[in-house]
Symmetry: C2
Subunit: 552 residues, 2 copies
């Protein structure tokens, strides 16, 4: 490998939303930006979460100088507990993310052996041959940064997730002066958030939501329930402020809501008005107009507090007419139906429900087209790599960058595992490395989970048919069975018995008198052959057929 | 039952989108408006479609005077092939719907015994003690009507799905004069579409899409591929018109696209410009700027033409750079991810893709708030029942109706199976009837499909573990096994063999020496007990455990 090129390798986060993980490589030094997870999509039955395949890093563990974290969202930090046992590498994160990571690693009993550092914007960190300069941006979580990574070949800038919020709820606005200064020094390659490129203009300030909260809650006489992401500390701050303003006490409902607010309060990032937060039990003695609940469940997750409240099976909270529920979040793609169901159930119980279509109770943390354009203008990079977007977002970002004056061949649309080499002359795709997704289910990480998932997908569509035959070891005769058990197989009403009986006869014919020697593979094959097509013709189902051949 | 009340019973279409089916009852006469299906939601594994439970109608088959169809969408006509065999009842439908129903019943070999009639707006039909007056509305399919159903107690109006399109592509605009005249005569109860109540203003005219098509296609030099619902004949008309204008030939790709356009052309509702439509094979000899393809697959359905094109496995069509694909449809809730995936795959192949976020290539067929308000103002009903909406839409419609001057107690929000009695004095919920959903999978309709589906859901999450033991019939001894087979169960890498081996030992302990008499239920129970918790502790999976006890 030539030492005078930088190699950039996305192990996640391009052509998809989630499991952000980008490698920046110079000579023998590797830096990783973010190590996030993705929540499983609808077809990933029973899978808990999805993390990037970091084989590439494991094979170079001695060369990985650090993992830089841009902010504390799960899609940027969630893979750490699964990756760290394989990589002995320091982590650098801004304060709130540092707090969330600490809690997370403690839970996974990994904190002791971890090497965690807080990064402060405005400081410069030397990591291997890199000079790393974090800069302040704004996002839907406080304490978000981008990174300028200076190398002898040039500077790579990673924006993290960002919008230009001129009036953030916590902390100063994005450090436009510093970003411009980095641009003035010359940027070789920009890795930019692009997920909201479809939206024109600038994304509104987070403060707009606080104004809406105030307008809605000011005159309410009933209870108020607000649901949002538990990591959206600024949103929670604004809810608390409005509660304080109108004499409401606030209880935090749901584990992550309680845990994140504790971390953020200890760090001084969340500042609840004095004696506003109370325990849920204390709400009993308060009149409705002094009550606000902040709950998890903004995505309609079945196990979350709000979903249980909406289903009428939360132990402590019952909806009554007069309650107002505010959905202060947009559904993540794939969650639209479960959110809609939760809203409907709350309405059925008599609550008033306010959601994004009805009032500005949510704004995005990602920059719209003009935010993205502004970042590009401030940094004026030679090359550009849009990240953190579905493929269509990458394509639209490229169009925007070309309109902004970049040359088409200077914009690289990457897929996960692509390696681009960057130097003063060109940006070019040079190879592909092992990469992809690793599934996590319970205690299982990767391994045969791909096969397990394929089986689950098959089972979910067509069910299973088990065919058991018992053979005489010495004669090869059929001693018992065939016994047939099905689950999840749609049998036409009326022919249930017939179908199973006919299938038994077919199996019997297939297995009797074939050989004295019992060849399990051969018999299994014969059994599948004898019933597969028949069952399909009768039911239009293709069940997973599992022959079990027992010898006595 | 008193003869001087009207009973209204939704068997579908309230609190949900789809399987529209509303019963209007007076004395011994029943009318049904629409008999639609719903496509299965994401958790209905392997289910093909969902239809309303019409037990109520089957039990009164001699009293059902007719099924009135408002328009030819599947969610209004799709249940007919499953319902008609149980109900010997005439169907009344506007011309295009009549054409679609005819094709559908022919396919199900039900046409011969069916009693199908065309309804013409402006005419009045006597059905039992009802006078039925269809009136012209506009929707995303030509030939849509609402119905005024006159009874001795008063008039019930069912709007069907509608918007007020002043410039529809086919036929005249909604018959506002007739609708107002019906209102002037007095309307007792209005059943109104409400699905788009969240959107302010009026829904734009269908013609707007034609203008966008023209702007996009005018200067294109490559091929154009447009995907839309195959029932959206006006959309197809506009695509054909633009093709004709710019010298492009059009091929229809996908079975329903070909079938629906044939029906609509035969009826004179679709009027392709002369010699515009050609066979797909003929496209080979044409340059790209003379090619337009109209395809199914606007919802990203895996088997549809466009999805196969996007995956690069369509036999005749390959995407090349220069192609432009227009998604002229909005994703139905639940289909967002598959649509996004299709768009991304097309972009990866080098196509330009235009979709709703980027240009007005789609408008809804449903009226927005002001359309709904206008209908209410024209009809000035005494009572109101919002239909064709999720529960939140019903609630928002009620708010709008109250603002428009209706009394809150005159607006009924119904659930499926609710019966309301309506007369001059009151609208009140009086009882509930058997109702709900019937699942269809292959040849199976209803029956045990609920159980089958629950098993599939279980299998999809945690897989299956089959435990086979072979016992000696005379002694009760364990002769062979336990054999354990799993599928879809996530085994922690490394402990796969161990887990199965330990499970076998546990089962063995549980079944040996228990009795000489073999009690299958008891043994099955013992087997499940012996491994269920153990497997969960080891894997965090709760597989479906299927014991098979064989006797020799």
């Amino acid at each position: 490998m030539l030492a005078d090129v930088i190699r950039i390798i996305p192990l996640g986060g391009v052509g998809e939303i989630g499991k952000n993980c980008i490698v920046v490589e110079y000579g023998d030094d590797l830096l990783v930006v973010d190590a996030g997870l993705k929540f499983p999509d609808a077809e990933m039955f029973g899978i808990d979460l999805v993390i990037p395949d970091v084989t590439y890093l494991r094979e170079r563990r001695d060369q990985v100088r650090a993992i830089l974290i841009t902010h504390g969202h799960e899609d940027h930090i969630g893979a750490l507990p699964y990756i760290l046992p394989h990589l002995d590498v320091p982590i650098y994160a801004p304060r709130l993310a540092h707090g969330f990571i600490t809690a997370k690693l403690r839970e996974h009993r990994l904190l002791e052996q971890s090497d965690l550092h807080v990064v402060e914007p405005d400081q410069v960190y030397t990591l291997g041959s890199f000079l790393v300069q974090p800069f302040r941006v704004t996002h839907s979580i406080p304490d978000a940064v981008g990174y300028a990574i200076h190398t002898p070949v040039g500077t790579v800038v990673h924006t993290g997730d960002f919008k230009f919020d001129p009036t953030p709820v916590y902390g100063p606005p994005p450090d436009i002066r510093l970003i411009r200064a980095i641009g003035d020094r010359g940027v070789l390659a920009l890795l930019s958030d692009c997920t909201r490129i479809e939206h024109p203009g600038f994304t509104p300030s987070e403060q707009l939501v606080g104004t809406t909260f105030d307008e809605i809650i000011r005159d309410l006489t009933g209870r108020v329930i607000i649901t949002s992401f538990a990591s959206n500390i600024s949103r929670i701050q604004q809810a608390l402020d409005v509660a304080g303003r109108y004499g409401r006490k606030v209880a935090l409902v749901g584990r992550s809501m309680a845990q994140n607010t504790t971390v953020a309060t200890e760090l001084g990032i969340l500042r609840p008005p004095d004696s506003t937060i109370v325990r849920l039990e204390e709400m009993r003695r308060l009149p409705p107009n002094q009550i606000m609940l902040l709950t998890t469940g903004s995505q309609g997750e079945p196990a979350a507090a709000l979903s249980r409240i909406a289903n009428g099976d939360h132990r402590q909270i019952r909806i009554t007419p007069g309650d107002t529920v505010i959905f202060s979040a947009a559904p993540i793609p794939g969650n639209e139906e479960s959110v809609a169901r939760t809203i409907d159930n709350l309405l059925r119980l008599g609550a008033d429900v306010v959601y994004e279509a009805l009032a500005t109770v949510h704004v995005s943390g990602h920059g719209s087209r003009d935010d993205l354009k502004l970042m590009l203008d401030l940094l004026r990079p030679r090359y550009c790599i849009p990240i953190h977007g579905e493929y269509r977002h990458l394509v639209l970002y490229r169009k925007m960058a070309i309109e902004a004056g970049l040359r088409p061949e200077h914009i690289a649309l990457l897929e996960i595992g692509d390696v681009v080499a960057v130097d003063a002359d060109a940006i070019q795709r040079v190879e592909r490395v092992v990469s992809g997704q690793v599934l996590v289910d319970g205690f299982s990480v990767g391994g045969t989970l791909d096969v397990v998932l394929r089986d689950r997908q098959h089972l979910s569509r067509d069910g299973v048919m088990i065919v058991v035959v018992t053979m005489d070891r010495s004669t090869g005769e059929l001693l018992a069975g065939p016994d047939i058990v099905t689950r999840g197989l749609s049998l036409t009403p009326g022919n249930n018995g017939d179908l199973i009986e006919s299938a038994r006869l077919r199996v019997r014919e297939a297995v009797v008198n074939h050989a004295t020697e019992i060849d399990h593979a051969f018999l299994s094959h014969k059994i599948k052959d004898s019933v597969g097509d028949y069952v399909y013709r009768q039911t239009r189902n293709h069940p997973l057929i599992l022959p079990v051949v027992t010898e006595v």
